[in-house]
Symmetry: C2
Subunit: 352 residues, 2 copies
Amino acid sequence: MSKPKQVTIVDVAEEAGVSIATVSNVLNRGGIRSSKETIRKVEQAAERLGYRRNTMAAGLSRNKTYEIGLIVPGLNGYYGQLAEHLQVEAHNRGYHLSVFSSGGFDPEIERRNLEVLQQRRVDGLICHGLAMGFESTRSIVNSGTPLVLINGWDWPEDIAIGAVNLGFASACEQSVKLLLERGCRTLCYVSSKRSKAIDEQRHIGFIRGMERYGNGINYEVADAKDLDVDVFLRKMREGHPAPIGIVAFDDHVALRLICGTLRLGIELPEEMKIVGINNDYIAEHSYPGLTSWDIPYTFQAQMAIDKLLSKLSNQQAAEQDEREINVPLTLIERHTTNALKGGVNEHVAKGN
Amino acid sequence: MSKPKQVTIVDVAEEAGVSIATVSNVLNRGGIRSSKETIRKVEQAAERLGYRRNTMAAGLSRNKTYEIGLIVPGLNGYYGQLAEHLQVEAHNRGYHLSVFSSGGFDPEIERRNLEVLQQRRVDGLICHGLAMGFESTRSIVNSGTPLVLINGWDWPEDIAIGAVNLGFASACEQSVKLLLERGCRTLCYVSSKRSKAIDEQRHIGFIRGMERYGNGINYEVADAKDLDVDVFLRKMREGHPAPIGIVAFDDHVALRLICGTLRLGIELPEEMKIVGINNDYIAEHSYPGLTSWDIPYTFQAQMAIDKLLSKLSNQQAAEQDEREINVPLTLIERHTTNALKGGVNEHVAKGN
DNA sequence: CTGTTAGCGCCTTCAA
DNA sequence: TTGAAGGCGCTAACAG
């Protein structure tokens, strides 16, 4: 019942009264042209029989799968969006994207996923950062599968053929600048250490901003994990010159902070200003509206796929590409940094 | 460079000084046992050569892929979580889950995804609802691939072998009951029609709640899309007896409403009470904390995978299963329905 | 317990 | 333009 005798090209050939080679030609948009007549016969036969090409057999025989493996740390928020866009782009280019989540940043699961993907003989790999070390990665990947990194900073050349990185660092740097321009006299970065490299970039950007624009102003860094928001906010308000400016790891963290200010009756943006990252649903719909950095998903996805595919076809030629592509974010300013006249809900730029 | 001569079992056999059949036996956890000695030799040889089994070849030859296809409307929020959990469960059972998003509820993309999955000869399919009609689905799936539905209500028996449905209807019904118990004198369901069947279930539940517990009380239904929250809330407050109770399609919609009340200075929960669904990050961290329904992801994922796999092995025997499994949600009450004494941030039950 | 031998379904020269 | 034949890498009987 469950496997009712697959229809193969043999059946189609028979039905159409031609050879299997002909069927194969006709069905795979001919590298070789056939007579109108044959084409029609074959297509009709295939249609009639409900023929469906067997991907495995095809892949096996031509030693190419048209499959790309993706490993991301999860499927929520940014990662989910990214995966979805990559999937679309891959499809557009005739590839299938196999999505794997490595559940947080678990190196063990990463390993396993990589292994599975390799066994499937994917044509290429796209990985979002990678929790496991350079060494492990090298040994796994150096078997020849091209690898493009997303948000992978400073990886050795011999492992990845390139990276497409979001400009988190400069976004954070600019956040600092913005907050200072808006009059903040104390700044704080609320980090999320469990996000590894991503967090590191933001941290770097924050520090750089302070160094460049801070003029020796006071700043702090706190980690979102296990952070008691109320205690934190109270301490910030009491111990430091106002207004306070906060760069949040992302919009989720920012939401917690915003809610804290509401709870404690801290005036936003007068006493405190917040900027997030991601320009999530949250940023647009929270109250007050959250200033945040918008991510060009489509662009990043295209870059990544392009880079991989060009490597796949051009063998070497693609070396010319700069190894790392930097994808800049766009600031969407809302009420948490800027009291607009017309009403608390207006945007400087339209959100998402 | 890119495809450095795959290592095959032939190479391993050679290196180990045995036949390829032996290698195959040893490597695929023996249906047939071999001598300790041979096992060691083969494993070492494989290790030394960096052998990696070719999934396609294996699948082709045994006519079984150990791959399960998943089609969900997206990868954000609930869907992403679900996909992730399904992936884990599938892995635990030795299967690979191929995740496809059909970008909203686009029937065209769905078709294409289904087609691709079939061409890969997946052993089974798990689909979250399905935007395309019964007919299309039937014609695509009736070729023999077992299909389990998730949140697919009322599908014809001949298409799917069963469904694992979240109890949205009764959750909403209970939401109504709760709101009435908390003293609401007007109720409203804020829907999200673009979510099709899911929304329908919630609507049904809401209506049923009103019929059962409403005692002829006034109620309304509004759709979240293009909804001007402020106008809506103002109208609700002015035109109807307070307090107002709102059942939101999900926590995202609820967030918009909560922010609206903050903007307009409506007292929560005194003048208005809100309950969401999903128990998202938002629910836990919004201010005031949002009463919501928690989803047993792991359980639902297990049920779905179990159902599919049992169908795969037991051929017919599994018929005994009830066709539809109902997965109940759990209420997490927070401040939007219940002014707790100790402080606005306490929970009746611990969130997520 | 190990080796031999057919395929699995398709693609790809190479002739015809 | 079409057909015949040899593999792709692995598994599954069946012999030894």
